[in-house]
């Protein structure tokens, strides 16, 4: 590569040496370009993730704004329950004797025997077919001797006239067709229905006589098989003897009435037993899921919240000077202090902590402490008015006494005619308030899921005035004065807020506007002026579940 005479020339050698010493440091842009070019996978990954997050946010936002209907969600578990029962048939067949021999309880008893919380139970039952809400059977005694079923059957007192047994019930009892409980419910089988019947037409293409015959045999076989386990076979035979079939109309009849509960198990029929069995299967699954399966991790209900809010503070003034009240408006001035004042909002802040307790999934109550620094501005003339009342000591930097008002006239500040003569200068005064409050209130989740939510809240907060550096009007509204004794120490304010919250790990972040209004006047009742502070804030907070 190099020519032999390269270093022969001192000039070239010099140039080479000097240029080799020279270094330049590239900007970061160069490396970024290199890096981005080399790691395109990373770029694709970031792009994909960004797209994914954007998509999630889009759909979450859309769900938040226009939540979709939940009808499909409600229906689905009913189908699922039936399918689960279907799928679990072999397992249930082995365990059904236990289920069949359980005591039947009313719904009230059921709720006392279950150890899952009501909310969860409601959620679950909400997903089932409404038919199953009518009867609730639980395994209060999971281990019972199967032979008790015969005893149970032996105690049955059969009616004089046998009701018709629905064919579908008999089929379910035999389990021949694997017809799910859902279908049984659809054809109108209800507990306690005295004449629950099903014509062959309902059964579709089956031959009436054969179907009735087969169903009658099936129903009979169920009862026989059940009664065979008990000691009093005579009674059992009586039960099966009540079964009859009517080939003419294709219905199967029995001389017993279907009973819902054991407590009044004076009437029974094969159809009822079959139906009850089917319900037991469903309820057994329900109870198995609720009582046997491990509980999901219990979720805490107590949360700690920290908030910080930059605020914009203002006030509203009410009250009329008694002299104006007496004489009426003078030159258009009606004695309202808000007509005299030239005040403007100013920034403040507040921060605090709260404890939240979640009452329900959507509603929480909270209480805490909040430090609030509120401020607004007023404009005044500084003058050396000799008529200033005693106690006015608002010397400005210029040596004047800040003792006069600014009257607002058509939006233009001008010196009040009530003040004396002399040199004046405009001044802006800050009215500062330092308050400690204890807000208590509630938060309600309006929209969203566990991750992204839109909430509203309301609080009422007793507050204590820690300190103030503010000016209040004197009687006659001629001067400003600092009079700490005229300020109310205890006050109360109400607030409303709305915020978006997003959960990241264990922390829930929230941001949203808030508004608070001081319900009682800043001043004591000795002052004719009523001042109510108003606070507009952007509240930012984090919430963490307490262990």
């Amino acid at each position: 590569m190099k020519e032999s005479n390269f270093y022969r020339d001192d000039f070239e050698q010099l140039i080479r040496e000097k240029t080799e010493q020279y270094k330049m440091y590239p900007s970061e842009r160069v490396w970024k370009g290199v890096h981005n070019s080399l790691h395109t996978k990373r770029r694709w990954f970031i792009g994909s993730m960004s797209l994914l997050v954007t998509g999630i946010l889009f759909f979450a936002g859309r769900e938040l704004i226009t939540p979709s209907a939940h009808t499909s969600f409600v229906r689905k578990p009913a189908t699922t329950a039936a399918s689960i029962a279907e799928a679990q048939k072999p397992y249930l067949a082995a365990h059904l004797p236990h289920a069949a021999l359980t005591s039947f309880h009313s719904t009230a008893n059921t709720s006392s025997s279950t150890r899952h919380n009501d909310a969860a139970a409601d959620d679950h039952s909400a997903g089932l077919d409404p038919t199953y809400k009518d009867i609730s059977i639980t395994l209060s005694h999971p281990v019972i001797d199967p032979s008790d079923l015969s005893d149970w059957l032996s105690r049955v007192q059969l009616p004089d006239h046998a009701p018709e047994i629905p064919v579908i019930a008999a089929r379910i009892a035999t389990g021949d067709g694997g017809r799910p409980a859902e279908d049984a419910a659809k054809v109108g089988i209800r507990p306690g229905s005295e004449q629950a019947s099903l014509r062959d037409g309902v059964e579709g293409s089956r031959e009436p006589a054969e179907a009735a015959d087969a169903d009658g045999l099936s129903a009979r076989s169920v009862l026989e098989s059940l009664s065979a386990r008990g000691p009093e076979q005579a009674r059992n035979a009586r039960v099966s003897g009540h079964l009859a079939k009517n080939k003419d109309n294709g219905t199967v009849t029995a001389d017993g009435l279907i009973s819902e509960t054991v407590s009044n198990a004076s009437k029974a029929s094969a159809g009822a037993i079959a139906e009850t069995r089917d319900r037991q299967r469903i309820n057994w699954l329900h109870d198995y899921a609720m009582n046997t399966l491990p509980d999901p991790a219990k979720r805490g209900r107590t949360f700690f919240q920290l908030t910080l809010a930059p605020t914009l503070n203002y006030r509203s003034l009410n009250g009329v000077d008694p002299s104006y009240e007496k004489w009426g408006p003078i030159n258009g001035f009606n004695g309202s202090p808000s007509q005299m004042m030239n005040h403007s909002p100013a920034y403040g802040f507040e921060f605090g902590g709260s404890i939240l307790y979640r009452l329900t999934r959507n509603l929480s109550v909270k209480g805490g402490l909040l430090f609030n620094f509120a401020r607004y501005k007023i404009t005044a003339f500084a003058s050396n008015d000799p008529g200033a009342p005693q106690g006015v000591s608002l010397s400005s930097y210029y040596g004047y006494v800040v003792d006069s008002l600014v009257r607002r006239n058509n939006g233009i500040s001008q010196r009040s005619s009530a003040t004396g003569s002399g040199p004046v200068t405009m001044q802006t005064l800050n009215n500062d308030y330092y308050q400690l409050s204890a807000p208590i209130g509630m938060e309600l989740r309006v929209l969203g899921n566990e991750r992204l939510q839109f909430n509203v809240g309301a609080t009422i907060a007793p507050s204590y005035l820690l300190g103030t550096s503010s000016y209040m009007l004197t009687d006659g509204m001629t001067h400003y004065n600092k009079e700490p004794n005229m300020y109310r120490k205890w006050n109360i304010s109400g607030g409303v807020e709305a915020f978006l919250s997003y959960r990241v790990g264990n922390i829930r972040w929230q941001i949203g506007p808030e508004f608070r209004y001081q319900l009682k006047s800043t001043y004591t009742s000795q002052s004719f002026i009523s001042e109510n502070l108003k606070t507009y804030g952007l509240k930012i907070g984090i919430t963490k579940m307490l262990p």
Partner: protein, 191 residues
């Protein structure tokens, strides 16, 4: 991090190793690019393109020579390819007799001699400068230069001769060289 570790990391496409390699060689390589380029921005573009080639072709490095030399060759070739895209560069190579270069005393900052010399090189017409860079500094032969730039070998020689004369003249005018080239004792003044 040793050079071997850097190399292995770069072969695995590890960003940390790539960054280390970049940090180690980019200052020198930017100076190389700067001598070829029209301005610093162009030099950085060349450097970026060159390092992308370095990292993407690092598996072709066979440890037969210095790693820095291998990188340098890629960077130089990248610079040349960039220059060849410029029409003015191609035209300048055909100029046998370059007109005199206007050199002002204050156009070259007198900070350090290395920088002064580099800046003086950059004053040269682009054709002269490229041949000078390739021959005197990068050590390519005129034949290699001719192949690289798609010119005659004689053109490369003549361009280099004139470039050297012009640079010498600039250096003297800038008072970096104190004496004419015929008398070599001016080197003492620099060294």
């Amino acid at each position: 991090m040793t050079e071997e570790a850097i190399l292995q990391g770069c072969l695995k496409n590890e960003a940390a190793a790539q960054r280390e390699l970049y940090n180690r060689y980019s200052p020198k390589m930017l100076a190389v690019c700067y001598r070829f380029a029209h301005n610093r921005e162009d030099a950085e573009d060349m450097l970026q393109e060159g390092f992308i080639k370095v990292f993407s072709q690092i598996h072709t490095f066979q440890n037969k020579g210095a790693f820095e030399g291998w990188i340098r060759r890629i960077i130089v070739h990248t610079c040349i390819n960039n220059l060849k895209k410029n029409k003015r560069f191609n035209e300048s190579l055909d100029i046998v007799h370059a007109s005199g270069v206007q050199v002002r005393e204050e156009s070259v900052p007198s900070i350090v001699q290395a920088k002064q010399i580099v800046e003086c090189i950059r004053i040269l017409p682009i054709g002269y400068r490229t041949v000078l860079n390739l021959y005197a500094i990068e050590g390519y032969s005129h034949k290699e230069i001719a192949d690289m730039l798609d010119i005659e070998e004689s053109t490369s020689r003549s361009q280099y001769t004139r470039a050297k004369q012009m640079l010498e003249e600039i250096l003297i005018r800038k008072k970096i060289l104190t004496k004419p080239r015929e008398k070599t004792d001016w080197l003492v003044a620099i060294r």
